[in-house]
Structure formats: C-alpha cells, structure tokens
Symmetry: C2
Subunit: 353 residues, 2 copies
Amino acid sequence: MQRVTIKDIAKMAGVSVTTVSRALNDAPEISPETRKCILRLCQETGYRANLLARSLISSRTNVIGVIPPDISNPFHAAFSLYIEMYAKARDYQVMLCSGRPGDGRIDELFDFLISQRVDGVLLLSSSSSAGDLLKAHAALPSVLVGDCVTEGTGSQLNAVSVDNCIGGRMAAEYLHQLGHRQVVYLGFRAGSATHALRHRGFSLRAEELGMQVETLVNPGRSSTIESGHQLARQLFQKPFQQTAVFAASDSAALGVMAAADECGIAIPEELSLMGYDNIDYAALPNIRLTTIAQPIPQLARASVKLLLDLIDSESAGEYTRKFLLPTLVERRTCRAISAGRPMQQKIPHINHI
Amino acid sequence: MQRVTIKDIAKMAGVSVTTVSRALNDAPEISPETRKCILRLCQETGYRANLLARSLISSRTNVIGVIPPDISNPFHAAFSLYIEMYAKARDYQVMLCSGRPGDGRIDELFDFLISQRVDGVLLLSSSSSAGDLLKAHAALPSVLVGDCVTEGTGSQLNAVSVDNCIGGRMAAEYLHQLGHRQVVYLGFRAGSATHALRHRGFSLRAEELGMQVETLVNPGRSSTIESGHQLARQLFQKPFQQTAVFAASDSAALGVMAAADECGIAIPEELSLMGYDNIDYAALPNIRLTTIAQPIPQLARASVKLLLDLIDSESAGEYTRKFLLPTLVERRTCRAISAGRPMQQKIPHINHI
DNA sequence: CTGAAAGCGCTTACAG
DNA sequence: CTGAAAGCGCTTACAG
C-alpha cells in the first residue's frame, strides 16, 4: 500500500513540497490561506508524516531505548510502564528491548538500538558489568538505572539508583528493634552490584548492633520466587536458630513463604520475614509482606529526566549520579520477640513433595 | 556526535559506497578481498548501519507496534513479553505503546505508529470498539488480540482470541459439579466484548444446569484488585445466599479475597472463589486461586504469526480468526458442598476500615 | 567485479 | 510569501 507523501499533497495543492513542509511545521513565513488549504488536504487524505525521513535529516528520532533485565518481574514491568509514561510526557517514545536475563545479548541490543538511531538508552541492570557496557558505547547518551561499583574507573557514568546500602541498614535496624539477634540474608547474588550494596548495608549494620548474619547465596542469574523457594527449603531442611529472614527481593520472599507453608513453619509466629522492592502483590491480603519499598515512579521520573537532559545538553566531561531513598513498609510478616532469652531451636517438619 | 557512515567507510577503503553497501548486504557480485577489507573497516570503526535510511528505501522497518490496554496488569505485561520474544525470533522488533486504559488515546497511538512506519500492529483489547479502530486504519496490517463482536460488519478483521465463551461455560460446569447452585458473577464490565462472551458462556450454561446467577457489574474501565474489592464489599455488606463467586479476572478475585479477609469470610470454607486468567500470582502459596487459564505463550505466538503472515502476504479480501482454548486450573479456593440441602444464610461480620 | 546516478520522503539554506 | 536545489544515509537498477 502506498502512503500519501508530501509530494502528493504538494501536487494536489498546486504548491511546492517546501511549502507543504512549512505548513506542516508551522513555519512563520507562509500565508494563512495556503496553510489552511494544505492542512485540510492532509486531513482528507490521511497524510502522516514519515518520521523516518524526518529523523534522517534531523538525526533525532525522539525515541529512547529501554533495556530491562527481565520484564516478567513485576518490579521491572511496573518500572518500564512509568518510564514510558514520563517519556511520553516529554514527547519521547520508548522502544522496549527485553533481553532475557543472562543471555549476554545486551551488547547486541545496544548495537540494534544504535542502528535504530535512538536518542539515548536507559539500561536497567543490577549487574556489576553494566558500567563497562555503557562505556563501550559512550557515544550514545545513556543512563544506568541501578547500582554500579564505585571503585576504579567503573564509576564515571550517569546513573540513578535507590540507595541500597541504606535499604539494607534499615532492614537490619528494624529487625534488631524487634528483638531479632540471629538472622539470615537470603538470596545474595554474586555479580550483582545491587545485592552487594544491599548486603553490605545489612550485614555491616547488623554487626554493629551485635546481630549474627548468615548469608544464603542464590547461584542463579535473577531473584525469582523459585530461587527464594529453593534457598528456603535448603534452610528449613535442618534445624536452624535464626528468627528472621531478610530476603533479597520480594519475589524471593514469596518463595520463602511457599517453602515455609510446605514445611509447616508459621510466618510471623515462628519466623519473621522481610522482603525488598514492595511489588504490588506484597500488599495482598494473604501476603502482607513487610518490605523495603523502592520509589518506582520517582525512580522512573529521575531516570527519564537525567537521560533527556543528557540528550539535550550533549555535555561531555561530567557525569551525574542520583540517589533516591527507600522506605520501610511495615505489614504482617515480622513480629517482635523477646530479645533476652534465646529462642528455642526449631525442628521443622518438612512435607516432601 | 557524528556516527560513521557508509561514505566514510568507502573513502577509507578507496571504493564506492555501492561496493560498501554490497559488502554489508553480502551481495554475490563482490570479490572476497574487498568484502573482507570493508568488513574489517566496519568492525574497527564501529560502523552501524542506519536503519532509518535503509527503511526509507525498503519501506519496511521490521518493527511492529504493540498496544496493550494496561501494562501494569501482570497478564498484559507477561503477554507483551512473549510477543517481544516471538517477534524477535522472526527478526522483528517491538515498539511498545501503552495507552492508559480509557484514555481514548489509542487513535493517537495508531497515528504515531503509522508515522513511525511500523510494518504492522498488534492491538490487545477487550473493548468492543476495538474493531472499529482497526477498520479505520485498514491500510496497516493489524490483528486484534482479544474478542470482537461477531455481529454485523465488526467481524471482518484479523483476530486471535481465547474462547471466552467456553471459558465461562467451563467455570459454570465446574461450580455445578461441586454442588453450587447459587453463584455470583463478579466484575462484569459493559463495553467489553471479552466480558460479554465470558458472561454469556457462564450464565447460559449455569441456567441450563439449573443454577441461579447474580451478576455484579464493574462500572470502571478495567478489572483491578480494587474493583474486585469494591464489588465484594458491596456483596458482603448484606446477607447473601450464594455459595460461590466467579470473578471476571484473577485481579478481581484477589480483591474479593481481600474483602473476604476483612469481613471474616473464610475461603473456601464459607465461600468458593474462581478467577480467570491464571496470572503468576494465582499460584502463590497463600493465594492458590482456582482459575481459568489463558494460554499466554500460545496466544502470543499465534498473534505474532498471524500478523507477520499478513505483512508478508499483503493478502486482501480475506480475514482470519484464530481461537485458542482455555483450561481449568484447580487449586484451593473452591470446595464441594452438598447440593441437596440449602446453605445456611450467612451473616458476615464486617470490619469497617 | 565495480561505480555513477537516481531516488526513498523529508528539511533547510538560498535566492527570488 | 514561495520554490528550486542540495542533502540526510542508504539501496538498486544500469552501464561499464
């Protein structure tokens, strides 16, 4: 099917393409009548400007690429939505490129987005290698949404993050305040800068407060219900002393709930549980997970703003880092215990399935 | 920043742009050495073809537009993910345009996608007006994912849907089989072809089986936890006779669970509950919602396939409709009751919050 | 096997 | 106020 072009309109109106172009871009130097006539013609014929051609000249597409780690994670899905909302509010369109987690294809996605000539890209990642990726494509304005290592050269990039170190500290302080002294950090992932900070904040503060922390490592590539489930079953398999679990993400926490359910461990009566993220479903009546909330809308807004500022300014020789503070959302999965007397050792009863 | 172009490469290699173009598109008529040399140059300089220019000539962008109703709904988010997966497998990129539900801006999104010269669009919608929208832009290959009215002229469009009528029937039969005779259909939305079919299947079959159905209408624009919550509270406010609730969506069902929790109504002991969709969270240990599952991956694959076939064929004068069958997923929110004796009337105790 | 030329649909100096 | 011309980065007949 042949779309109507500026040339067609010009022919119909009996003017040059230049004039049509001017009418379309409301240039000042054009008579009101010709403009009116041309605009009417466009209306009637259903003319739509070819953005491809326009972008070829302006070398601006007004689209930004967004690379989420895994859109099946509700946190990332919600986040992508907000990004699109804020981008649209500033007249930018989003091209979503979900790389499967760990596919190592992010580099290809970058190449692709460059070929599409997007004006910039937003890389959502908690991987500690994300920084290198961005540097490899330094010619393209880009911001990392997530954490990056602060040591060495990796730090010189534009990024906005939620302060995960503080988030970890908050969790430790909260559990301590409830009387918990032996706790587990469940779902630590190596290679994740986010987890590194979250874990450091948590365990450093816990130690300061005289708590004992056992860390359960998630060997996988992402924090899922399944990973939390696996680790929790591993924990519940033997008698354990800890009275509280701080899960690295809400999804993982949900997995812990599943395992606890199977093993007949009551939450919060026998075990307190905290998550991280505050995904929608953490608020569900039968979940009511106490968690550390990431300010998703603000995060999205700040990310879009930083990226678009970058695109507009073309400022080299500087970079900015923006931090947002998490908040604690108290619900029903944590309970206060008397810190004085030691907890009785639990002998969980496991239903083997 | 100035990207390296085909002209730059040509100059460096001492050949014409034509030759470079041929090397890049592995045309047959080119000497192996020149090709090798050119390819190496591209590698070294980080050359990326400008897809804008290429598309301008070929009038093909290899991107499809996807318009989901509301990506914050996990069902649609998951679906969008699968679409992107299958599209990518066939070398198409997805441009995601989430219109806020009910914004009436879908028309604008269409215009925008046409301007971007996408090769086709996938409209996910349960609105009965979706068909008209597609017809208004008939020049663009497009498929409706969802239901459309079958009467009149509205039916002549390409669509793939889950058979919602059957889904409704299945729910009615299941509840009947468990002994329920008085049931409520909660969350019916007027103006939704999907709901119309689902409701028709359910109530027709229920009537055939001698059941009584009360329908609670959701006046809003989308099925959310909140809408389910509102309607359920409305139901629980007064004594009611029904022993089972069939919610129009899993999200709505989650809202019903919240309300039941608040009102001290035990599920499934005092009230059976079914959902529709089988979103991830329906499987959660503390949810375990019995529901009708939509085959999301198959739906996504069929949609992408139909659209790409359409794009490739440019076939006019025909349209195809594809139907996928839902399945029943039995979990823990429904229980069998003795059909013989009438249920005792419930006096729910409401906690006012 | 290689290149000069035309053209995809638009914008933008430049000259009237 | 209007138009002819050049050009954005590429591809594709056409001629060598």
